[in-house]
């Protein structure tokens, strides 16, 4: 099995941002956790990385599998309970996850619950007052992203061709919708939510910040400092606002592209109480 | 996808709104409500192109007996004429009950 196919960006950015400081021992090894400084404040950084020796064969390429989702839940919840009576440390999810693990064993063992436990932990951290930031450095796909990052107060993404968000991999999506990959790509150009690239995603208004001009593959010191500054700014922004996901509907891009999401909520509120 | 508009004379006011059906494979939904004038207006959106004549034929038959001044919206996902007529009659029946 070639390791070159494996997404390594999670590891690269985890090491770049933490300097391997404050590493927290973690099982499985595919989940990396560290408490490192961000603007002078202890911050919990969490990444899911490939491990070719993963005990679950379907989770060796950086997928979010049963153990990974479970470990995310454990380490987010440990930060919540440790900070119960003190300042809530920020939590940064470094996101490069190609998919959740696809396997019959995973289904039998309830990977949906494991992923839900991870999403629950992140959302609970957010509600407890931890600023939770998702930093997209590579793929943010489907259930894997729902488990690792999508419950964050703010989503930041590096600008680069390999940084993408989607509900299903291109090949599989083409098969399921009975279209060719080329047709799918053509549709993506016309219909923003169907596109894979991060620029199209930015048009949906869900991103807090698209960080341009950073080398996502091999970041230099200046790149890392730049990203650190953006993370810090996002933490400050979170602390000045409500712990829900309302900001995802408030941006100018959201008001345009997610107009229907806003309209649904507006009219629902009108009808909520009987006339 | 194709849109078809049809108009029919009416003799009776429609007083209620009725919804039946689902835009599922081989099925359709019908939204029937009072029309703003004394005519019936039908707006069909269908997934299958090129069947305008058949749609007109089915609706003509329905309006031989239905006299309500209704605005009817049909959202179709490849229903056969038989299913279309069934859903229209179901809507008319619901209007009476």
């Amino acid at each position: 099995m070639s390791t070159q196919q494996c997404p390594e960006r999670g590891r690269i950015w985890f090491e770049a941002l933490t300097g391997s400081d404050g590493v927290v021992e973690c099982t499985p090894r595919s989940v990396r956790v560290a408490d490192a400084a961000l603007g002078g404040e202890q911050t919990r950084f969490i990444a899911v990385v490939p491990d070719t020796h993963n005990r679950f064969p379907r989770a060796r390429q950086g997928e979010v599998g049963l153990d990974e989702a479970c470990a995310l839940a454990v380490h987010v919840r440990r930060a919540i309970s440790a900070d119960r009576h003190r300042a809530r440390r920020p939590i940064v999810a470094i996101v490069d996850v190609a998919s959740q693990a696809y396997g019959s064993c995973e289904e039998l063992l309830g990977i949906h619950l494991a992923c839900a436990a991870a999403a629950d932990a992140y959302a609970s951290a957010r509600l407890a007052g931890h600023p939770v930031i998702a930093l997209l450095v590579g793929k943010a796909m489907s259930g894997a992203f729902l488990a690792h990052g999508y419950q964050a107060n703010r989503i930041l993404a590096l600008d680069g061709p390999e940084v993408m968000v989607h509900a299903m991999g291109k090949q599989a999506a083409a098969r399921v919708t009975r279209r060719s990959v080329a047709e799918l790509e053509g549709l993506g150009e016309k219909i923003a939510p169907m596109a894979y690239d991060i620029h199209s995603y930015a048009r949906l208004g869900l991103l807090h910040k698209l960080i341009e001009g950073v080398n996502a593959e091999a970041p230099g010191q200046a790149d890392v400092e730049r990203v650190r500054a953006e993370l810090l700014a996002a933490v400050v922004d979170v602390r000045a606002s409500t712990p829900d996901l309302a900001s995802r509907l408030a941006s100018p891009a959201a008001r345009q592209t997610r107009a229907a999401s806003i309209e649904v909520r507006r009219r629902l509120a009108e009808q909520w109480d009987a006339a | 996808m194709e849109e078809i508009k049809l108009d029919y004379p009416a003799r009776q006011a429609v007083l209620r709104r009725v919804h039946v059906g689902v835009v599922g494979s081989g099925d359709l939904e019908v939204l029937l409500e009072p029309s703003p004038d004394l005519r019936a207006h039908v707006l069909i959106t269908t997934s299958v192109d090129g069947y305008g004549v058949i749609w007109k034929h089915v609706l003509d038959r329905f309006f031989e007996r239905f006299e309500g001044a209704a605005s009817i919206e049909i959202n179709d996902f490849g229903a056969t004429p038989g299913v279309v007529m069934l859903r229209l009659e179901q809507a008319a029946e619901a209007l009476r009950s």
Partner: protein, 289 residues
């Protein structure tokens, strides 16, 4: 013996299949009689803005029925997904309807006016024609369920026959209590997707008996991934829903029982994965974990 059979027969005939109901009937069948009041119904015509751009006919309610009413006299909200429309998939509008309604219920709860949220889940997950906006809406549904659960139990029903998959299977797992039937299937990845992604050696999606043994309602109930296993009968399900709410908040939500999950996974050898029956022994009632 004959008497019992006759009684069973009468009970069977008296049954009203929940599975065969469309979403609107399902929602109505759950609420107290004559309390059903629909929100954003078909005549509000908030349709998918994305499907017509792709030549696909949109349904007037985007496949989600929202209704307010009461359950045993207490204010409730039902969200029912219509599986016959686009496989019950979650698009921008259908997702926003569920998330938005749960957010309003949360607002009421915070002001001391509890609203009981009930989700009738019948969905393949994200609607791929609206991909990223469906995924985003599902994240918002998750967020709303988690926030709401601090005030009232959130109850989910997966009855079949579509089942509940993708990001919405996580929503089912986030429910305080989950009710299933034998016809239900609950899983993260649909069998077809697994076969495509991992090969037919991993899973043969056409082997229906195998699929049901892995992710069917009976198995999910037997290993504690669902709280009640019911017959396909609307009145039985409606009664179980009321029971689920009457029990109040669980001591610890299923998706927050992380240590329990860790212990459960620790006893698994992935290179010799258990079959469905072995897992029942490992995880089922009476097992150590």
């Amino acid at each position: 013996m004959n008497g019992a059979a006759a009684r069973d027969g009468r009970r069977f005939l008296a049954r009203s299949s929940f599975i065969e109901m469309a979403a609107r009937e399902r929602a109505r069948a759950m609420l107290d009689a004559d309390t059903f009041r629909e929100l954003l119904g078909p005549f509000d015509r908030i349709k998918s803005p994305w499907l017509p751009l792709q030549g696909i006919v949109a349904q007037a309610d985007d496949g989600v029925v929202l209704a307010r009413g009461t359950l045993d006299g207490r204010p409730a909200l039902v969200a029912a997904i219509e599986s016959a429309y686009q496989g019950g998939s979650i698009g921008e509008v259908s997702g926003a309807k569920i998330a938005g309604a749960l957010e309003l219920a949360l607002g009421d709860c915070k002001q001391g006016r509890p609203v009981l949220p009930l989700l009738l889940l019948e969905t393949g997950g994200v609607r791929l024609q609206e991909a990223n906006l469906g995924l985003a809406a599902i994240a918002e549904i998750h967020a709303a369920i988690i926030a709401l659960r601090r005030h009232v139990p959130v109850v989910g029903v997966v009855a079949g026959t579509v089942g509940c998959f993708g990001g919405m299977s996580m929503a089912a797992a986030l429910c305080s209590r989950l009710i299933v039937t034998r016809q239900a299937r609950l899983g993260m990845n649909g069998p077809e997707v697994i076969e495509q992604e991992a090969g037919i050696a991993e899973l043969d999606a056409s082997d229906r008996a195998l699929i049901w043994s892995l992710i069917g309602g009976e198995q999910r109930y037997a290993v504690g991934l669902a709280d009640a296993l019911l017959e396909d009968d609307a009145a039985t399900i409606a009664a179980a829903v009321r029971d689920a709410f009457a029990q109040g908040l669980p001591q610890l939500e299923r998706s927050a029982q992380v240590e329990h999950l860790v212990r459960r996974l620790a006893c698994i050898d992935p290179l010799r994965p258990p079959d469905a029956n072995t897992l029942r022994r490992l995880w089922g009632e009476g097992a150590v974990n």
